[in-house]
């Protein structure tokens, strides 16, 4: 038996571009999430319940939604399903809260940012792990409903295509809002439980008090504080449903503003994290 010194070979392949590197983080992140029971259950149950509700609503619309005209506004009732709010919040907290906080906690951020990627690449990759999972609840059921309705012949394809397009847009708005907020919360703490609690606080800690105070004071503008009410206002306007307690332009500005601000704040926060510490 011969003993030789350990050695390793020289790399002969060129390095692939940044797109490949970002995709590597995304695929690895998604694979890790689908190994976590909490993430699997949340995504599975959330998708099942919201999709089932959409299918049942289409099939049994005359019984479940009596008096609801079968026009574009029908699809607002799908978007207003409270199960969407609950599961989007749950996903953002179960999955999104750990995406950056775990890397801060294990200090794996040093490994990522000493690689040939930028802070922006890292954040895009992390957001891209979360967005498809949230969209399983926030977009998929909303797009499926008009498609099924068209197959059943309940709506004309013109309305269905409009509904699919609008569902995509408002679903993306909700997804982007929760993705940016949960990533921001995840970036400011090493403990993902704190970030998860923060996501719930943003949703229910604002929505419930806003609803109660609005009723008690009869001041409906307080509902702008609730992300869910803001989303509903935008959805109502998009699908042409009857006007609600708050106006959609203000609600849309709040949702977009918070999304952009949270994204910027996350980027600034990540730039400030010391990757090489001594």
């Amino acid at each position: 038996m011969s003993i030789s010194l350990p050695t390793y070979t020289r790399r002969d392949m060129p390095l692939l571009g940044r797109g490949h590197r970002i995709r590597a983080i995304i695929t690895s992140g998604l694979r890790r999430e689908f190994k976590r029971p909490a993430a699997i259950v949340t995504v599975g149950v959330g998708t099942l319940i919201t999709t089932a509700w959409s299918i049942i609503s289409v099939f049994f619309a005359p019984f479940l939604l009596p008096g609801q005209p079968l026009d574009l506004s029908f699809f607002y009732t799908m978007a207003a399903n409270p199960a969407i709010l609950f599961f989007v919040t749950l996903m953002a907290s179960v999955i999104g809260s750990g995406l950056i906080a775990d890397d801060l906690d294990t200090m794996a951020l040093s490994l990522y940012l000493s690689r040939p990627i930028t802070h922006r690449d890292y954040l895009i990759a992390k957001a891209a792990i979360l967005v498809p999972l949230i969209s399983m609840v926030a977009i998929f059921p909303l797009v499926l409903t008009p498609f099924l309705a068209a197959l059943l012949g309940r709506f004309s394809w013109v309305i269905v295509l409009q509904a699919i397009g609008l569902s995509l847009v408002i679903g993306l708005l909700l997804t982007a809002f929760y993705a940016s907020v949960s990533l921001f919360l995840s970036s400011i703490t090493r403990r993902k439980s704190y970030a998860a609690a923060g996501v719930f606080a943003v949703t229910f800690g604002l929505t419930i008090p806003a609803e109660i105070l609005s009723l008690a004071t009869r001041n409906q503008s307080l509902l702008y504080l609730s992300p869910w009410e803001d989303f509903l206002a935008v959805a109502r306007a998009a699908f042409g449903a009857s006007a609600g307690p708050i106006d959609w332009p203000g609600a849309l500005a709040i949702l977009l503003g918070v999304t952009v601000l949270a994204s910027l704040a996350t980027y600034i926060r990540m730039r400030a994290v010391e990757v090489v510490s001594g």
């Binding site: 350990p6 390793y8 790399r11 571009g17 690895s28 040093s110 990522y112 040939p116 090489v276 001594g278």
Partner: protein, 288 residues
Amino acid sequence: MDDLSVAIPEGAIGLVGPNGAGKTTFLRLLLSLVRPTSGTARVLGRDIQDGVPLRERIGYMPEHDCLIPDMTGVGLVTYMGRVSGLDTNTSMSRAHDVLQFVGVEEERYRKIAEYSAGMKQKVKLAQAMVHDPELYIFDEPTTGLDPRGRSEMLDLVRLISNSPGRNVILSSHILPDVETICKYVIILDGGHQIAAGDMSRLLSGATDRLRIDIRGDPEAFVRRLSEAGFETEVSGPGLRITRQPGVEGAVFQVAKALGAEVRYMGAEVRSLEELFLDLVARTDAGGG
């Protein structure tokens, strides 16, 4: 950091300095994670502001624990290869290659959470090697290792630094490690460069002086030699004496008279630790 002007040759370079000396900032600059407020620098021929293209050619082994505990050793190294730009197959193949090189054999399939400190250090080294960089930055690679682990890690660092086309920057508080591996050293203190140069040149003292290590009373030794007209001073554990005709004979005469034992007399060679302490003391005296 301020007032740093140094041209670092290829090979193994040591970076030493007390806490707060600027070593970490220096490493951040090399990795293009911070930008200099003034001045310029080039690493491997590239401007340090180049960022991504520069980091493609650098492998960084952090000081602190930074591994993802729920991944296996081979999974993590493969993943880091892909994040560096290797395709999946190449990355997997190189992960096995470098893990074998660092001595992580069957354990590579276990989760990192189950690894010992030594194994974790080896995986940290492997992830820095996976994309085959030209420059390795090792930040305290022997921290937390037992003597055997430390020796293994130093052997690996030495093997890498002796490989053609590979350069090593070794930042460490353990000066004997730096002394045994590096051919060039940069010493920082208070954000300034206080010495930089070839290790052997820096450690060899002035040619016009001798170093004498004795067992006995050094103060009395110095007094007797000074009385005999030889310029002598106590330096660390020994003495330094200016070379002049008859000095060797005078040293032995004084030793005989005092009953002291001359254990070494010859060229003045300092350890890196002695040089470091000497320079830091001089800087403190100058600054104070």
